[in-house]
């Protein structure tokens, strides 16, 4: 057991830190959604210019062939330096690697560059209104018409769709095949009238997510990824793709938020109150345990090629901790933490989504019970 970084990992981190110090991000724009997107996109371009946008990609595609630990270091440092998550995060983490796995040379050639530079933003069209956690039941249809595919259906929870040029679209090409079969994975061009993006306003008032109404969108054969009827397998690649890095980003953000709360509480002299100190400390333990458990998970994947039990727990730990943290801030800081437009008020509301997005806590517990503990499928 060695919880220090290796020489090469330290060198990686030092280079990265030097880069971040030299390229301090502009302050985060408040309120204006487009300005916020541009802030993220511009920063990604800067990262990409110097080879930092996709450290886990192979060097031949513009990455650095980083190890999992280095990838984790990247996200930790990104968070720690207050830099924005890359605008094209879905392209970098999901679309790119899926195309690398399944794409033709032409597809790789066409798509990977613009993903890296944020020239072309990607979104993910999997979820549908009636198929929440149950992907095999999705209904969006792609029909063959005059040498093209013509798609009709509805997608939901499509984050970033309003900025996207491309969509990883999962659609049913053979309605007679069993549920998991008959699906095809398309790279759909969003710039056509048949694709209608409607922002889905969240309880925070902003619209990270969208609904996608697709009414006769046209897709060429060149935009089929991994072969017709093979969509389930390709989608699994997307779903299984390395999001551990993201977990490190979230964990660092949690730590930063907690540190902010600790500072503000200390400034007000609240830590003299034993009840306050205990509640803050309880959160400190959650944040530290999350960090340690995330690193344990990383080791397991690196050594054994697949996640251990701890890998299933970090998303759940994080959402729980983040919700408690923002509520504790409301309790300790009072009106300031409930002000509209203030960051604590935003975080308080935004955190309600943490236990829903990316797998509800209930679904995560099912998965832990069934796949990690081997309990009978729950009823």
């Amino acid at each position: 057991m060695d919880l220090t970084f290796s020489e090469s990992e330290l060198a990686f981190r030092d280079d990265l830190r030097a880069w971040f110090r030299a390229h301090a991000p502009a302050p985060e724009p408040q309120g204006d959604e487009l300005a916020h997107f541009c802030w993220r996109r511009d920063y990604q371009r800067l990262l990409a210019r110097d080879g930092w946008a996709a450290v886990h990609w192979p060097a031949r595609y513009g990455g650095r062939g980083a190890t999992l630990t280095e990838s984790a270091i990247f996200f930790v440092e990104l968070g720690r330096h207050g830099a924005p998550m890359m605008a094209n995060v879905l392209g970098l983490l999901l679309a790119g690697p899926t195309i690398m796995s399944w794409g033709t040379d032409a597809q790789k050639e066409r798509h990977l560059g613009p993903i890296l530079t944020a020239e072309e933003i990607w979104c993910q069209g999997f979820s549908e209104p009636d198929a929440g956690s149950d992907l095999a039941s999705l209904k969006t249809r792609a029909r063959r018409e005059r040498g093209h595919w013509v798609v009709t259906g509805q997608k939901v929870w499509t984050s970033g769709a309003q900025h996207s040029k491309w969509c990883m679209l999962l659609a049913r090409t053979d309605p007679d095949a069993p549920r998991h079969k008959g699906l095809t994975y398309f790279l759909m061009d969003m710039e056509q009238d048949a694709v209608d993006v409607r922002p889905l306003r969240q309880i925070t008032g902003s619209s990270e997510f969208n609904e996608l109404f697709i009414d006769g969108a046209v897709i060429s054969d060149e935009q089929v990824l991994g072969g017709v009827g093979n969509g389930w397998g390709v989608a699994l690649t997307t779903l299984m793709n390395e999001r551990a890095g993201l977990a490190f980003f979230l964990q660092v953000r949690l730590r930063q938020l907690l540190d902010r709360l600790l500072r503000e509480a200390a400034d007000r002299g609240l830590l003299a109150d034993q009840a306050v100190a205990e509640r803050l400390g309880e959160l400190h333990v959650r944040a530290e345990v999350l960090r340690l458990t995330a690193y344990r998970g990383l080791t397991t994947v690196q050594k054994y090629g697949q996640p251990g039990p701890e890998g299933s727990l970090t998303k759940w730990m994080w959402s729980d901790a983040n919700q408690r943290l923002t509520q504790l801030a409301a309790d300790l800081l009072g009106p300031q933490a409930l002000a509209a437009g203030g960051s604590w008020g935003y975080e308080l509301l935004r955190a309600r989504g943490n236990s829903i997005e990316g797998g509800t806590t209930e679904v995560l517990k099912n998965i832990v019970a069934e796949r990690v503990l081997g309990l009978p499928k729950s009823r």
Binding site: G132, S133, D134, V156, W157, L200, R201, Q202, I203, G205, A275, Q323, Q327, A330, D331, G334, P335, L338, A339, A340, G341, G345, L348, L349, R352, G353, S355, I356, E357, T360, T361, E362, K365, S378, R379
Partner: protein, 331 residues
Amino acid sequence: MDFDLTEEQREIKRVARELLAARSPLSRVREAAETGAYDQALWREIVGLGWGGIAVSQAWGGQGLGGIELVVVLEELGFACAAAPLLSTAAAAAAIDACGSDAQRERWLPGLVAGDLRAGVGPAALALDGHGADVAVVLDGEGAVLVAAPESEPLETIDPARRFAALARSSVAGGEPLGAGAADLIRMSIAAEVVGLCQRALEMTVAYVGERRQFGVPVGSFQAVAHRCAEMLLQTESARSAAYHAAWAAGAEPTRLGEASALAAAAAATAAREVPASAIQAHGGIGFTWEADVHWLYKRGEVDRALLGGAGAHHARLARAAAARLAGGSP
């Protein structure tokens, strides 16, 4: 021993439920939030029904009813999550009537009851309807202070369906103390609104999970969801038991109101956060959308919790009071 509403109180509740369901569906709440203004037509109607003075003596233009009727009406206000300054008006009026001097009653009550004057209530840093108020009843520790025409800065909160203000310290320092009973009545009133909020969150959730299907069955048939709903009921009924008890004490046993109100505040502060948060979770992704309207309950719940001063302080106060009573030898 009769821990139940009278037929007349049930009737008041029924009328309030029906009126607010008709005039203030959640779509109206959303509209008010989006425009940042109260629903004035609704407010005129509420004033016309005399709800603002429901617990105010008839001598001052009120309906001469008691704490229970006040709680019942505010519970329905919470159930509707209505965008109207009723909580502030009714709570301030009740507090001034119960704890003010005759001069204060004469000065403020007729105008508040008639809807001609506006009242703010809450801690100085988060005074509900405090901006531009003619009078504010400010919670200050365990006591309350009456402040005429307080200086204030408007304060927008995460609950845009209501108006708040930060009152100037100098104004509050110049206020007239009303005694602890006033603070108790105000906390009891906020707790009553919370009971209604939670009841609404529960009913919306039960309806949704009974209907919404996933994996071929209603999501309410998943034990995790069903048990969550059961816990929401437990929290809601806990807050209700405590709020009704405080309402009874306000009329029948004023010496017990202090603890009864702290109890109601503690139970409400807990439920105000947990029940609406559970409602969002049980609604899944839909619950996180603006259009689903569940979030208004969460937002109001969090702000009501802050108005109540959180749960911890009440817990500590109650424990210390109980220990002191035991040390004094009473059973």
